[in-house]
Symmetry: C2
Subunit: 144 residues, 2 copies
DNA sequence: GCAGTTTAGTTGAAGCGTCAAGCATCGAGG
DNA sequence: CCTCGATGCTTGACGCTTCAACTAAACTGC
């Protein structure tokens, strides 16, 4: 199916733009973006891993790298001392703010602008349908 | 967009099924499948890399692994001695034949069966539209 | 309270993808 | 022919993801 080809190709396109513009992978950007939307730009590791569909080890490694680049800060959670809170630093916020428009534009150029209004509606309905199975608990898109 | 979530999640689903059933990644399966469709189950490395949207180094590594597992055979191309022909072995053919139905079923369960006839048509038209930009030369789907 | 289990997260080793460099062959120009 | 650039592919090193193993803290039942 042609759709499979789209699924194969699209991530690469999104990745290269972010790599060029901000030297982050699409996944790293997504992590930063999820943090930036959270109250106080802070989330617990587990919550963040659910939102980003990452395994905990993966997230742990990524956060360590982002921390070493000064974009994220880790602090033990006071309420549950097993847990770790990840927060955006000032620098991290700056990066997200600076990078978001370019990223949005890339999505726009590669997806939205290629389709009619009607098709966008169709695609959204189709995606919704598919997510019922791919993400039954709606982890990736909590009713923000 | 919800569509982005689909693009993130779907590859993982397809991958796990193939990993479970045949101990190959989705990409490895795709390589084997492309070979199986080619005349004489043989393709030159460059042609195969275009069809699978892989860099040549990546393909080279993958083919080496598949060869070491006895699924693929490499032979220098007689017409152009720089080139390498990759072919499916008997064993490789057996794997593709044995694995294809399960893979098709997975795609069916996760995509096709979730949508109405009408939506499938819409998705195909949308994919076609998007591929005009994502794959302008139509490398991934030569008019078979 | 205290053993056993569950939850939260980190770490290190192993495997795959990417990138830069390399080698061989082909083809075009003089 | 012979050189020079282009083409086809391979290789090795490095980075990221995954998996298994581990530590530590929190619940649970007795």
């Amino acid at each position: 199916m042609r759709f499979v080809a789209v699924v194969e190709l699209l991530p690469g396109v999104l990745d290269s733009q972010l790599q060029r513009d901000a030297d982050v992978s699409h996944f790293e950007y997504y992590v930063l973006a999820m943090l930036s939307e959270a109250p106080n730009a802070t989330l617990r590791m587990t919550a963040l891993s659910l939102k980003t569909n990452a395994t905990l080890p993966r997230l742990s490694h990524v956060i360590k790298r982002l921390e070493s680049r000064g974009l994220v800060r880790r602090a033990p959670c006071p309420e549950d001392r097993r847990a770790t809170n990840a927060s955006l630093t000032e620098e991290g916020i700056v990066l997200v703010v600076a990078t978001a428009p370019g990223h949005v534009r890339t999505v726009r150029e590669n997806v939205i602008n290629r389709l009619t209004e009607e098709q966008i509606g169709q695609l959204d309905a189709i995606s919704d349908q598919l997510l019922r199975r791919l993400d039954p608990d709606n982890r990736m898109n909590p009713p923000a």
